[in-house]
Symmetry: C2
Subunit: 223 residues, 2 copies
Amino acid sequence: MSLPLEAGDSMRIAIPIYPGFAATDAIGPYEILSRLPGAELRFVAVVAGPVAADTGFLSVLAEPLASMPDPDIVMVPGAPNRCLPLGDAVLMEWLRAAHARSTWTTSVCTGSHLLGAAGILKGHRATTHWSDLDALPGFGATPCNERVVFDGKLVTAAGVTAGYDMALALAARIAGEDFAKAVQLALEYDPQPPFDAGSPERAPAHLVALVRRLGLGAAQDLP
Amino acid sequence: MSLPLEAGDSMRIAIPIYPGFAATDAIGPYEILSRLPGAELRFVAVVAGPVAADTGFLSVLAEPLASMPDPDIVMVPGAPNRCLPLGDAVLMEWLRAAHARSTWTTSVCTGSHLLGAAGILKGHRATTHWSDLDALPGFGATPCNERVVFDGKLVTAAGVTAGYDMALALAARIAGEDFAKAVQLALEYDPQPPFDAGSPERAPAHLVALVRRLGLGAAQDLP
């Protein structure tokens, strides 16, 4: 069986991280995209070295942004709003330059706000964590309450775990459906959540309040 | 609303990692368990410092095993079989000692083989990656083709992404269903895989062959 993308091809993937990033936002797509034929994947950061995630319990090593200035895929993870480096000029400049040459520019959760702050979302459809959809118009984007939004080469995913679904859909576009399905099978991604509480449309209202009270996830900065 | 476990309680969680570990196996449960009230979570390793995951593209910082000898929760991630440190006497001894005092001993994917090699699975029901279920009897365990298996204080999960489901179920036992549902909502864990190919029961047979040919996941060492 042939695949659209075969070993020998090259696929350079950059995941820019920063203090306070949400680990699953980054690791979900990493787990899938790193399996693309010819993949070379780097976690990069404005300040290279160990980068602490939002919980403070996990640090991932990052290389300098300059180590991958021209990725084929840019994948931007989100964070609680208080941790988003929306005003980091060095990161913004790297995002703009990388996006100008990328084949795909992608994000998970509030990672789309970083794309927005870099001016990349203007005039595009995009998504983010359910608690932050109303922030997208501020970046000139049209918010879409969907799990994965493709708009040209821009691919945005909803909150945190939506990165698995986004990356599988993207892997199918890049390397074919059989490849994406094989990765899904290898990762045994046959989700069986013990509860049906993963979206605000179906979770009882008191849970939305509890998410706020406990300061969980991107929603911790809700009013 | 009250929760069974409240802030002020303590919950010490150790995730032992090792070169070649599968990142999602570790990060999935981390993302959920680190939100438990009073959580103190550490990635620990026989050799502290940066520990590279199976792809070679990701390194996570680990502290020494001795930094958390008596966790309330032990959570062991898996790896491709060639990377599993089944013969590491220092790790085995730490696992046995930690299990003797833990409230919960848990694993994802082939992490259960490490519990097995430490003698912890003997006489218990357990699961692992779909491609490796037949290895469990060698550890004296009864293999269960289920996504999450609770047997007393032993909790094992199937391949890779099953750690999210396992950790949510465990969080519910520890801190109550409302807490677990709130974490699920915060992580927007409302999975919508673009394909229905996450289990060998439903994926077409040629995909199982493709997983083997591409050397993906724990299945890469299949004959």
